[in-house]
Amino acid sequence: MWRDARIVMAKDLAIERKAKVALRQVLPFVFSLVLLFAFALDRVLVDDPLVSGDTVPVPFVAPGVFWLAVLFSAVLLIQRSIGLEVDDGSWDQLRLWGIDPVGVFVGKATVVALQLFVIELILGVAMTAAFQVSLPRTASAISLLLIVAVLTTIALSAIASCYGALSAGIRVRETLVPVLLLPVTVPLLLASVQAWQGAFTAETSSGWAWVRLLGVLCVIYVATGVLSYGALMEE
Protein backbone atom coordinates (compact mmCIF):
# COMPACT_ATOMS: atom_id res chain seq x y z
CA MET A 1 0.00 0.00 0.00
CA TRP A 2 2.74 2.49 0.98
CA ARG A 3 4.65 1.66 -2.21
CA ASP A 4 1.58 2.42 -4.33
CA ALA A 5 0.91 5.59 -2.30
CA ARG A 6 4.48 6.79 -2.95
CA ILE A 7 4.17 6.09 -6.69
CA VAL A 8 0.85 7.97 -6.98
CA MET A 9 2.19 10.82 -4.87
CA ALA A 10 5.35 11.14 -6.95
CA LYS A 11 3.28 11.16 -10.15
CA ASP A 12 0.83 13.84 -8.90
CA LEU A 13 3.70 15.98 -7.59
CA ALA A 14 5.54 15.66 -10.93
CA ILE A 15 2.38 16.81 -12.72
CA GLU A 16 1.99 19.76 -10.32
CA ARG A 17 5.64 20.71 -10.81
CA LYS A 18 4.96 20.92 -14.56
CA ALA A 19 1.48 22.45 -14.53
CA LYS A 20 1.71 24.58 -11.33
CA VAL A 21 -2.08 24.72 -11.10
CA ALA A 22 -2.07 25.27 -7.33
CA LEU A 23 0.25 28.25 -7.56
CA ARG A 24 -0.91 29.80 -10.83
CA GLN A 25 -4.65 29.24 -10.58
CA VAL A 26 -5.82 28.22 -7.12
CA LEU A 27 -3.73 30.72 -5.18
CA PRO A 28 -4.83 33.77 -7.27
CA PHE A 29 -8.44 32.56 -6.88
CA VAL A 30 -8.00 32.39 -3.11
CA PHE A 31 -6.46 35.87 -3.02
CA SER A 32 -9.39 37.24 -5.04
CA LEU A 33 -11.80 35.58 -2.65
CA VAL A 34 -10.12 37.03 0.44
CA LEU A 35 -9.96 40.45 -1.21
CA LEU A 36 -13.69 40.30 -1.94
CA PHE A 37 -14.36 39.31 1.67
CA ALA A 38 -12.24 42.23 2.84
CA PHE A 39 -14.25 44.67 0.69
CA ALA A 40 -17.56 43.12 1.68
CA LEU A 41 -16.73 43.22 5.39
CA ASP A 42 -14.88 46.54 5.32
CA ARG A 43 -17.47 48.49 7.31
CA VAL A 44 -18.03 45.87 9.98
CA LEU A 45 -14.39 45.06 10.78
CA VAL A 46 -12.20 46.62 13.41
CA ASP A 47 -8.88 45.36 14.70
CA ASP A 48 -9.80 45.48 18.38
CA PRO A 49 -11.53 42.61 20.21
CA LEU A 50 -12.72 45.00 22.90
CA VAL A 51 -14.66 47.27 20.57
CA SER A 52 -18.39 46.63 20.67
CA GLY A 53 -21.41 48.00 18.85
CA ASP A 54 -22.07 47.40 15.17
CA THR A 55 -18.54 46.28 14.45
CA VAL A 56 -17.01 42.80 14.53
CA PRO A 57 -13.44 42.36 15.74
CA VAL A 58 -11.05 41.09 13.08
CA PRO A 59 -9.84 38.13 15.20
CA PHE A 60 -13.38 36.76 15.07
CA VAL A 61 -13.79 37.12 11.32
CA ALA A 62 -10.32 36.36 9.95
CA PRO A 63 -10.32 32.64 10.87
CA GLY A 64 -13.67 32.18 9.14
CA VAL A 65 -12.49 33.92 5.97
CA PHE A 66 -9.23 31.95 6.05
CA TRP A 67 -10.82 28.52 6.41
CA LEU A 68 -13.55 29.27 3.87
CA ALA A 69 -10.84 30.23 1.38
CA VAL A 70 -8.97 26.99 2.19
CA LEU A 71 -12.18 24.99 1.76
CA PHE A 72 -12.80 26.47 -1.70
CA SER A 73 -9.16 25.76 -2.59
CA ALA A 74 -9.67 22.13 -1.60
CA VAL A 75 -12.68 21.90 -3.92
CA LEU A 76 -10.60 23.21 -6.84
CA LEU A 77 -7.61 21.01 -6.01
CA ILE A 78 -9.64 17.82 -5.77
CA GLN A 79 -11.44 18.62 -9.04
CA ARG A 80 -8.03 18.92 -10.64
CA SER A 81 -6.67 15.80 -8.91
CA ILE A 82 -9.55 13.60 -10.14
CA GLY A 83 -9.72 15.34 -13.52
CA LEU A 84 -6.14 14.16 -14.16
CA GLU A 85 -7.27 10.56 -13.81
CA VAL A 86 -10.59 10.79 -15.61
CA ASP A 87 -9.84 13.02 -18.60
CA ASP A 88 -7.99 10.40 -20.68
CA GLY A 89 -9.06 7.17 -19.03
CA SER A 90 -6.22 6.88 -16.51
CA TRP A 91 -8.71 5.93 -13.78
CA ASP A 92 -9.39 2.65 -15.61
CA GLN A 93 -5.66 2.12 -16.09
CA LEU A 94 -5.04 2.53 -12.35
CA ARG A 95 -7.64 -0.16 -11.73
CA LEU A 96 -6.14 -2.38 -14.41
CA TRP A 97 -2.64 -2.10 -13.02
CA GLY A 98 -3.95 -3.71 -9.85
CA ILE A 99 -2.75 -0.74 -7.80
CA ASP A 100 -3.91 -0.74 -4.17
CA PRO A 101 -6.93 1.61 -3.88
CA VAL A 102 -5.84 2.64 -0.37
CA GLY A 103 -2.48 3.57 -1.87
CA VAL A 104 -4.25 5.74 -4.46
CA PHE A 105 -6.29 7.39 -1.70
CA VAL A 106 -3.27 8.06 0.52
CA GLY A 107 -1.15 9.27 -2.40
CA LYS A 108 -3.75 11.63 -3.85
CA ALA A 109 -4.95 12.94 -0.45
CA THR A 110 -1.34 13.59 0.62
CA VAL A 111 -0.62 15.67 -2.48
CA VAL A 112 -3.82 17.69 -1.97
CA ALA A 113 -2.82 18.19 1.69
CA LEU A 114 0.67 19.37 0.72
CA GLN A 115 -0.78 21.84 -1.78
CA LEU A 116 -3.23 23.08 0.86
CA PHE A 117 -0.39 23.56 3.38
CA VAL A 118 1.49 25.74 0.90
CA ILE A 119 -1.66 27.75 0.13
CA GLU A 120 -2.41 28.13 3.87
CA LEU A 121 1.10 29.38 4.55
CA ILE A 122 1.04 32.01 1.80
CA LEU A 123 -2.56 32.96 2.54
CA GLY A 124 -1.81 33.23 6.27
CA VAL A 125 1.04 35.66 5.66
CA ALA A 126 -1.04 37.69 3.20
CA MET A 127 -4.09 37.85 5.49
CA THR A 128 -2.01 38.80 8.51
CA ALA A 129 -0.85 41.82 6.55
CA ALA A 130 -4.13 42.62 4.79
CA PHE A 131 -6.41 42.27 7.82
CA GLN A 132 -3.73 43.60 10.17
CA VAL A 133 -4.25 40.67 12.50
CA SER A 134 -2.03 40.48 15.56
CA LEU A 135 -0.60 36.98 15.69
CA PRO A 136 -0.79 35.12 19.01
CA ARG A 137 2.45 35.12 21.02
CA THR A 138 1.96 32.46 23.68
CA ALA A 139 3.27 28.95 23.04
CA SER A 140 -0.15 27.45 23.77
CA ALA A 141 -1.90 29.71 21.23
CA ILE A 142 0.75 29.14 18.56
CA SER A 143 0.63 25.36 18.98
CA LEU A 144 -3.18 25.55 18.89
CA LEU A 145 -2.98 27.37 15.54
CA LEU A 146 -0.57 24.82 14.09
CA ILE A 147 -2.36 21.69 15.34
CA VAL A 148 -5.71 22.97 14.06
CA ALA A 149 -4.12 23.70 10.68
CA VAL A 150 -2.63 20.21 10.45
CA LEU A 151 -5.78 18.36 11.55
CA THR A 152 -8.13 20.44 9.38
CA THR A 153 -5.92 20.05 6.33
CA ILE A 154 -5.63 16.27 6.70
CA ALA A 155 -9.36 15.85 7.33
CA LEU A 156 -10.30 18.14 4.44
CA SER A 157 -7.92 16.40 2.01
CA ALA A 158 -9.22 12.98 3.04
CA ILE A 159 -12.92 13.73 2.70
CA ALA A 160 -12.39 15.76 -0.50
CA SER A 161 -10.50 12.80 -2.01
CA CYS A 162 -13.41 10.48 -1.18
CA TYR A 163 -15.94 12.73 -2.88
CA GLY A 164 -13.56 13.22 -5.79
CA ALA A 165 -13.41 9.44 -6.32
CA LEU A 166 -17.17 9.16 -5.87
CA SER A 167 -17.73 11.64 -8.68
CA ALA A 168 -15.02 10.24 -10.98
CA GLY A 169 -17.33 8.37 -13.31
CA ILE A 170 -20.03 11.04 -13.36
CA ARG A 171 -20.26 13.49 -16.23
CA VAL A 172 -21.43 16.36 -13.99
CA ARG A 173 -18.63 15.94 -11.47
CA GLU A 174 -17.49 19.59 -11.65
CA THR A 175 -20.78 20.75 -10.18
CA LEU A 176 -21.46 17.67 -8.08
CA VAL A 177 -18.28 17.74 -5.97
CA PRO A 178 -18.97 21.09 -4.26
CA VAL A 179 -22.63 20.19 -3.74
CA LEU A 180 -21.64 16.96 -1.98
CA LEU A 181 -18.51 18.13 -0.23
CA LEU A 182 -19.45 21.50 1.26
CA PRO A 183 -22.25 20.26 3.58
CA VAL A 184 -20.02 17.49 4.96
CA THR A 185 -17.31 19.98 5.86
CA VAL A 186 -19.59 22.16 8.02
CA PRO A 187 -18.48 20.57 11.35
CA LEU A 188 -14.86 20.75 10.21
CA LEU A 189 -15.16 24.42 9.31
CA LEU A 190 -17.00 25.20 12.55
CA ALA A 191 -14.39 23.46 14.72
CA SER A 192 -11.37 24.98 12.98
CA VAL A 193 -12.82 28.51 13.02
CA GLN A 194 -13.83 28.27 16.68
CA ALA A 195 -10.44 26.86 17.66
CA TRP A 196 -8.56 29.61 15.83
CA GLN A 197 -10.81 32.28 17.32
CA GLY A 198 -9.76 30.89 20.70
CA ALA A 199 -6.10 31.20 19.73
CA PHE A 200 -6.49 34.77 18.41
CA THR A 201 -8.49 36.01 21.39
CA ALA A 202 -6.22 34.40 24.00
CA GLU A 203 -9.00 32.01 25.06
CA THR A 204 -6.96 28.97 24.24
CA SER A 205 -8.80 26.62 26.61
CA SER A 206 -12.00 26.99 24.60
CA GLY A 207 -9.92 26.51 21.43
CA TRP A 208 -8.41 23.25 22.65
CA ALA A 209 -11.90 21.88 23.30
CA TRP A 210 -12.59 22.22 19.56
CA VAL A 211 -9.35 20.41 18.73
CA ARG A 212 -10.81 17.22 20.21
CA LEU A 213 -13.70 17.42 17.72
CA LEU A 214 -11.22 18.09 14.91
CA GLY A 215 -9.23 15.01 15.92
CA VAL A 216 -12.35 12.84 15.84
CA LEU A 217 -13.38 14.25 12.43
CA CYS A 218 -9.87 13.66 11.11
CA VAL A 219 -9.96 9.99 12.17
CA ILE A 220 -13.48 9.51 10.73
CA TYR A 221 -12.64 11.11 7.37
CA VAL A 222 -9.35 9.24 6.93
CA ALA A 223 -10.98 5.94 7.95
CA THR A 224 -13.82 6.63 5.49
CA GLY A 225 -11.26 7.02 2.71
CA VAL A 226 -9.29 3.91 3.66
CA LEU A 227 -12.41 1.75 3.90
CA SER A 228 -14.37 3.08 0.94
CA TYR A 229 -11.83 4.05 -1.72
CA GLY A 230 -11.66 0.56 -3.23
CA ALA A 231 -15.41 0.45 -3.75
CA LEU A 232 -15.43 4.05 -4.99
CA MET A 233 -12.77 3.28 -7.61
CA GLU A 234 -14.64 0.23 -8.85
CA GLU A 235 -18.07 1.89 -9.06
Binding site: V8, K11, A14, G89, S90, W97
Partner: protein, 218 residues
Protein backbone atom coordinates in the same frame (compact mmCIF):
# COMPACT_ATOMS: atom_id res chain seq x y z
CA UNK B 1 -15.97 -16.36 -20.94
CA UNK B 2 -19.02 -18.51 -20.60
CA UNK B 3 -22.64 -17.41 -20.72
CA UNK B 4 -21.72 -13.80 -19.95
CA UNK B 5 -24.57 -11.32 -19.68
CA UNK B 6 -23.60 -7.67 -19.21
CA UNK B 7 -25.82 -4.62 -19.12
CA UNK B 8 -24.88 -1.04 -19.94
CA UNK B 9 -27.58 0.75 -17.99
CA UNK B 10 -30.61 -1.25 -19.05
CA UNK B 11 -29.19 -2.08 -22.51
CA UNK B 12 -28.06 -5.71 -22.82
CA UNK B 13 -24.55 -5.21 -24.25
CA UNK B 14 -23.68 -8.91 -24.02
CA UNK B 15 -26.34 -11.58 -23.90
CA UNK B 16 -24.98 -15.05 -23.25
CA UNK B 17 -21.52 -14.43 -24.68
CA UNK B 18 -19.14 -17.41 -24.93
CA UNK B 19 -15.51 -17.28 -25.98
CA UNK B 20 -12.46 -19.41 -25.26
CA UNK B 21 -9.09 -17.97 -26.25
CA UNK B 22 -5.89 -20.00 -26.02
CA UNK B 23 -2.51 -18.74 -24.84
CA UNK B 24 -0.66 -17.01 -27.68
CA UNK B 25 -3.78 -16.79 -29.83
CA UNK B 26 -4.80 -13.61 -31.66
CA UNK B 27 -8.56 -13.11 -31.86
CA UNK B 28 -10.18 -10.24 -33.73
CA UNK B 29 -13.69 -9.05 -32.92
CA UNK B 30 -15.65 -7.47 -35.74
CA UNK B 31 -19.12 -6.11 -35.99
CA UNK B 32 -21.19 -2.96 -36.34
CA UNK B 33 -21.17 -0.16 -33.76
CA UNK B 34 -22.90 -1.32 -30.60
CA UNK B 35 -22.31 -5.01 -31.35
CA UNK B 36 -20.54 -5.44 -27.98
CA UNK B 37 -16.87 -5.50 -29.04
CA UNK B 38 -15.62 -2.92 -26.53
CA UNK B 39 -17.82 -4.43 -23.83
CA UNK B 40 -16.17 -7.84 -24.32
CA UNK B 41 -12.76 -6.25 -23.72
CA UNK B 42 -13.90 -4.29 -20.66
CA UNK B 43 -15.69 -7.28 -19.19
CA UNK B 44 -12.55 -9.39 -19.66
CA UNK B 45 -10.60 -6.72 -17.79
CA UNK B 46 -13.17 -6.67 -15.00
CA UNK B 47 -14.00 -3.02 -15.68
CA UNK B 48 -17.67 -3.74 -16.35
CA UNK B 49 -19.54 -6.00 -13.90
CA UNK B 50 -21.49 -8.91 -15.37
CA UNK B 51 -24.98 -9.98 -14.42
CA UNK B 52 -24.40 -13.63 -15.24
CA UNK B 53 -21.69 -15.94 -16.51
CA UNK B 54 -18.12 -16.91 -15.71
CA UNK B 55 -14.94 -15.13 -16.80
CA UNK B 56 -11.68 -16.98 -16.31
CA UNK B 57 -8.37 -15.35 -17.16
CA UNK B 58 -5.14 -17.35 -16.83
CA UNK B 59 -7.03 -19.98 -14.89
CA UNK B 60 -8.49 -17.63 -12.26
CA UNK B 61 -12.01 -16.26 -11.89
CA UNK B 62 -11.95 -12.50 -12.56
CA UNK B 63 -14.59 -11.86 -9.89
CA UNK B 64 -12.65 -13.70 -7.18
CA UNK B 65 -9.10 -12.56 -7.87
CA UNK B 66 -9.64 -9.36 -9.80
CA UNK B 67 -6.65 -7.34 -8.61
CA UNK B 68 -3.95 -9.91 -9.17
CA UNK B 69 -5.41 -10.97 -12.56
CA UNK B 70 -5.50 -7.37 -13.75
CA UNK B 71 -1.74 -7.09 -13.32
CA UNK B 72 -1.42 -9.59 -16.18
CA UNK B 73 -3.75 -7.65 -18.49
CA UNK B 74 -3.07 -4.67 -20.68
CA UNK B 75 -5.90 -2.64 -22.18
CA UNK B 76 -5.51 -0.15 -24.98
CA UNK B 77 -8.87 1.53 -25.27
CA UNK B 78 -10.22 4.57 -27.08
CA UNK B 79 -8.75 6.67 -24.28
CA UNK B 80 -5.00 6.31 -23.95
CA UNK B 81 -4.85 6.63 -20.16
CA UNK B 82 -1.91 9.03 -20.39
CA UNK B 83 -1.12 12.10 -18.28
CA UNK B 84 -0.85 15.10 -20.59
CA UNK B 85 1.48 17.05 -18.26
CA UNK B 86 4.04 14.25 -17.98
CA UNK B 87 6.66 13.44 -20.58
CA UNK B 88 6.56 10.35 -22.78
CA UNK B 89 9.19 8.61 -20.63
CA UNK B 90 7.49 9.59 -17.36
CA UNK B 91 4.19 8.13 -18.57
CA UNK B 92 5.69 4.79 -19.53
CA UNK B 93 7.80 4.68 -16.34
CA UNK B 94 4.70 5.34 -14.24
CA UNK B 95 2.79 2.53 -15.98
CA UNK B 96 5.63 0.08 -15.31
CA UNK B 97 6.11 1.15 -11.68
CA UNK B 98 2.39 1.31 -10.85
CA UNK B 99 1.69 -2.08 -12.39
CA UNK B 100 4.45 -3.57 -10.23
CA UNK B 101 5.92 -5.89 -12.83
CA UNK B 102 8.25 -7.36 -10.22
CA UNK B 103 11.30 -6.39 -12.26
CA UNK B 104 14.28 -4.74 -10.58
CA UNK B 105 14.69 -0.98 -11.04
CA UNK B 106 17.42 -1.43 -13.64
CA UNK B 107 15.43 -4.07 -15.56
CA UNK B 108 12.33 -1.85 -15.46
CA UNK B 109 14.40 1.06 -16.80
CA UNK B 110 15.75 -1.14 -19.59
CA UNK B 111 12.28 -2.38 -20.56
CA UNK B 112 11.00 1.23 -20.66
CA UNK B 113 13.90 2.30 -22.90
CA UNK B 114 13.49 -0.75 -25.14
CA UNK B 115 9.73 -0.15 -25.50
CA UNK B 116 10.25 3.53 -26.35
CA UNK B 117 12.83 2.62 -28.97
CA UNK B 118 10.62 -0.12 -30.44
CA UNK B 119 7.74 2.34 -30.81
CA UNK B 120 9.97 5.01 -32.35
CA UNK B 121 9.65 7.29 -29.33
CA UNK B 122 13.33 7.65 -28.52
CA UNK B 123 15.42 10.75 -29.18
CA UNK B 124 13.81 14.12 -28.57
CA UNK B 125 10.31 12.67 -28.45
CA UNK B 126 10.87 10.80 -25.20
CA UNK B 127 11.28 14.02 -23.20
CA UNK B 128 8.33 15.78 -24.81
CA UNK B 129 5.17 16.41 -22.81
CA UNK B 130 2.33 14.15 -23.96
CA UNK B 131 0.13 17.25 -24.33
CA UNK B 132 2.28 18.26 -27.31
CA UNK B 133 1.93 14.95 -29.17
CA UNK B 134 -0.42 14.08 -32.02
CA UNK B 135 -3.17 11.49 -31.51
CA UNK B 136 -1.10 8.87 -33.32
CA UNK B 137 1.97 9.58 -31.20
CA UNK B 138 -0.12 9.31 -28.03
CA UNK B 139 -1.33 5.95 -29.23
CA UNK B 140 2.28 4.89 -29.65
CA UNK B 141 3.05 5.98 -26.07
CA UNK B 142 0.11 3.92 -24.79
CA UNK B 143 1.41 0.96 -26.80
CA UNK B 144 4.89 1.49 -25.35
CA UNK B 145 3.38 1.21 -21.84
CA UNK B 146 1.76 -2.05 -22.85
CA UNK B 147 4.97 -3.43 -24.35
CA UNK B 148 7.12 -2.33 -21.40
CA UNK B 149 4.82 -3.99 -18.87
CA UNK B 150 5.23 -7.40 -20.57
CA UNK B 151 1.73 -8.57 -19.68
CA UNK B 152 0.21 -11.94 -20.64
CA UNK B 153 -2.99 -10.67 -22.25
CA UNK B 154 -3.46 -7.70 -24.57
CA UNK B 155 -6.95 -6.26 -24.94
CA UNK B 156 -6.89 -3.82 -27.85
CA UNK B 157 -9.82 -1.63 -28.81
CA UNK B 158 -9.46 -0.26 -32.34
CA UNK B 159 -5.66 -0.31 -31.92
CA UNK B 160 -4.97 0.88 -35.49
CA UNK B 161 -7.05 4.04 -35.04
CA UNK B 162 -5.05 7.30 -35.33
CA UNK B 163 -1.87 5.47 -36.37
CA UNK B 164 -0.14 6.32 -39.65
CA UNK B 165 0.57 3.48 -42.14
CA UNK B 166 4.03 2.91 -40.61
CA UNK B 167 2.51 2.79 -37.16
CA UNK B 168 -0.12 0.29 -38.30
CA UNK B 169 2.53 -1.99 -39.75
CA UNK B 170 4.57 -1.66 -36.56
CA UNK B 171 1.53 -2.54 -34.47
CA UNK B 172 0.94 -5.66 -36.56
CA UNK B 173 4.57 -6.65 -35.99
CA UNK B 174 4.23 -6.08 -32.24
CA UNK B 175 1.07 -8.20 -32.09
CA UNK B 176 2.80 -11.04 -33.99
CA UNK B 177 5.87 -10.82 -31.73
CA UNK B 178 3.72 -10.79 -28.60
CA UNK B 179 1.72 -13.81 -29.77
CA UNK B 180 4.96 -15.68 -30.51
CA UNK B 181 6.04 -15.02 -26.91
CA UNK B 182 2.77 -16.55 -25.71
CA UNK B 183 0.81 -13.34 -25.15
CA UNK B 184 -2.90 -13.69 -25.85
CA UNK B 185 -4.32 -10.84 -27.95
CA UNK B 186 -7.99 -9.95 -28.26
CA UNK B 187 -8.70 -6.94 -30.39
CA UNK B 188 -11.78 -5.13 -31.57
CA UNK B 189 -11.33 -3.79 -35.07
CA UNK B 190 -13.19 -2.23 -37.96
CA UNK B 191 -10.12 -2.69 -40.16
CA UNK B 192 -11.26 -5.91 -41.81
CA UNK B 193 -8.17 -6.47 -43.97
CA UNK B 194 -5.76 -6.13 -41.08
CA UNK B 195 -7.93 -8.20 -38.77
CA UNK B 196 -7.95 -10.98 -41.37
CA UNK B 197 -4.17 -10.73 -41.82
CA UNK B 198 -3.02 -10.85 -38.22
CA UNK B 199 -5.71 -12.78 -36.36
CA UNK B 200 -5.88 -16.54 -35.87
CA UNK B 201 -9.64 -16.22 -35.51
CA UNK B 202 -12.07 -13.52 -36.55
CA UNK B 203 -15.37 -13.38 -34.70
CA UNK B 204 -18.28 -11.33 -35.98
CA UNK B 205 -20.49 -9.93 -33.23
CA UNK B 206 -24.01 -8.62 -33.41
CA UNK B 207 -26.38 -7.77 -30.58
CA UNK B 208 -23.91 -8.95 -27.94
CA UNK B 209 -23.43 -12.42 -29.44
CA UNK B 210 -21.03 -14.11 -31.81
CA UNK B 211 -22.81 -14.64 -35.13
CA UNK B 212 -19.97 -15.99 -37.29
CA UNK B 213 -16.49 -17.31 -36.68
CA UNK B 214 -13.66 -17.69 -39.19
CA UNK B 215 -10.52 -19.54 -38.16
CA UNK B 216 -7.28 -19.50 -40.08
CA UNK B 217 -3.55 -19.39 -39.44
CA UNK B 218 -2.30 -15.83 -39.79
Amino acid sequence: MSGVVALLGTFPALSGFDIDVARGEVVALRGPNGAGKTTVLKVAAGLIPVQRGVITVLGSDVRVDRRSIRRHLGLLGHATGLYADLSVTQNVQFAVRAAGTGASASDAKKSVEAALERLGLNGRLKDLQVAHLSAGQRRRVALASLVARQVSVWLLDEPHASLDPEGRDLLDELIAEAANRGTTVIMASHDLDRADQIADRVLRLQGGRIVTENSHVA
